[in-house]
């Protein structure tokens, strides 16, 4: 009997030890940064991270997307060293520290072959509310409009509805997407659709041969230039956020991401660098 108990105890201990080893061996965090959050900011931080890694061998920076809310939450819970947010902090979020690394705007996109060049705010609101359902009502071809909306919790959506004074439940969408790229992919694949995404992502893709076109908002052409000049109405800061104590590595990386050394990368991604 002694023996049986002995073995059972050993087996349990073995399982526990294994679990603990697994749970604790995430060591080596000195040279690791986990950055999560906004899919708008992620491509930019990815290229910045690549350059940073090249300069500091041995450092590894993992960038994961999931939306601004997740970036904030992960930073708060310590799941990520740095969170990415494509909006400013709201009231009640001052427990974290946000550092802007670029500015971006939100623009409307349609398929490249769509003859419509611009929409008024009223037309746009009507389209998103389902009151206008055919392109011919706004000067386009006779075809039903496919409205592409962002999923709940995305800051692009929040900014969009806030700007146009919409409520998300009022929007009559035909397709709901998550990431910016998913929105662009959907619009590029459907000639009669309309969606809204980050200007940076849209311009990057449009100039790289993706079949989309950027629409003017309120008469202002969506372009990096207009965002830089502060003319474009739908603009927002791209932030890196941290909560509580930060590691020297995280501080150094954030400083690097703000510095002159990455402005070319910011511009290549069609965002507006922050003046130092």
């Amino acid at each position: 009997m002694m023996n049986t108990r002995h073995w059972m105890a050993l087996a349990i201990v073995a399982v526990l030890v294994a679990a603990m080893v697994v749970a604790c061996s995430r060591g080596d965090s000195e040279n690791r940064l986990v950055v999560t959050g906004s899919s708008t900011v992620a491509p930019l931080v990815s290229v910045i991270a690549k350059r940073y890694e090249a300069k500091h061998p041995g450092v590894r920076i993992d960038v994961q997307m999931g939306g601004s809310s997740r970036g904030l939450a992960d930073a708060r819970r310590g799941l990520a060293d740095i969170g990415m947010m494509s909006r400013g902090l709201k009231a009640g979020e001052n427990d974290v520290e946000a550092v802007a690394i670029a500015r971006d705007g939100i623009c409307l996109i349609v398929h490249k072959d769509n003859p419509v060049e611009g929409l008024t705010d009223e037309q746009l609101v009507a389209i998103y509310k389902g009151e206008i359902a055919n392109w011919k009502d706004v000067g386009g071809a006779d075809a039903p409009i496919t409205v592409v909306n962002k999923a709940e919790g995305r800051s692009t959506l929040e900014l969009f509805v806030a700007h146009f004074d919409l409520e998300n439940p009022q929007i009559k969408a035909h397709v709901v997407v998550g990431d910016n790229e998913q929105g662009i992919q959907t619009v590029a694949g459907n000639p009669n659709s309309i969606g809204y995404v980050s200007i940076g992502t849209a311009e990057y893709d449009a100039t790289h041969g993706v079949a989309i076109k950027l629409l003017a908002v309120g008469g202002v052409t969506p372009s990096v230039e207009n965002v830089k000049l502060g003319k474009f109405p739908l603009s927002r800061p791209l932030n890196l956020v941290t909560a509580g104590e930060t590691t020297p590595l995280a501080d150094d990386f954030i400083a690097f991401a703000r510095s002159q050394a990455v402005h070319d990368l910011v511009e290549k991604q069609y965002f507006v660098p922050i003046a130092p």
């Binding site: 039903p144 709940e152 998300n168 439940p169 969408a173 035909h174 709901v176 998550g178 694949g189 659709s193």
Partner: protein, 284 residues
Amino acid sequence: MSPSHRDRALGWVLRATAALVAAIVVLIVAFLVVESAGVLRKLGPLRFLTDPSWHPTSGSFDLTAMLLGSLLVTVGAVVLATPAGVASALFCRYYAPAPLAKLYGRMIEVLAGIPSVIYGMWGLMVLVPLIGKWQPPGPSLLAAVLILTLMILPTIALFSDAALAKVPDRYVRGAAALGLTRWATLRGVVLPAARSGLFTGVLLGMGRAIGETMAVLMVCGNVVQTPGSLFDPIRPLTANIALEMGYALGDHRSALFVSGLVLMGMVVVLVGTAELVSRGRLHG
């Protein structure tokens, strides 16, 4: 260590292993319950059925549209895949010449092993644009039903084939001796004899359809609404989890675990029924 001590030790190690395996199920259920408990306690289960819409960040948690979506997609797929799957099995066993039957059987096996993401990709790149040209927007209930039909067809076909294989040859010979035609034999003798096996296959196919995520997510449009027609986009429960889990927080995250719990409940009921049917305690 003496051999008998070694045996006893092995017995305990194996028991510990099996207990760990059994614990996984308990853990899954426990985690679903614990993670959903927050929002369930705060709002009560009824809110998930009576809220006006699914806007979890604004505090509306209605799951009915997505439940309906899951249900419609599943029923549609089963309605299409059952005749096609059973016909495939009949084709293999009673209609096709031997080499063709073997080839066709292999093809069904390969189809059964193709990952859902590939069905989804093909649906997204080929099927959705086709439907979009005919009845915009394209991503729709219909697309999801068609892709799911393709996915569960092999399951139903393989189970039907196994069920047909168990029908004793003498039934068929007996029927032939009575001068019955092939179809009359199949309809009157073989299919009824294989009934419970066929039903099990359909139930398991249904389970797969309800639980399928990726392929549906890629072609259904993901709009939370009660569809007015086959061409309207929808969002089933599984797609909802996959779509929003990445960034959901607090009550929203909790609510996604509630949908997980609902899904798990539906599948457990289906699997249980399938088991009863295959043991011959129920008849379809």
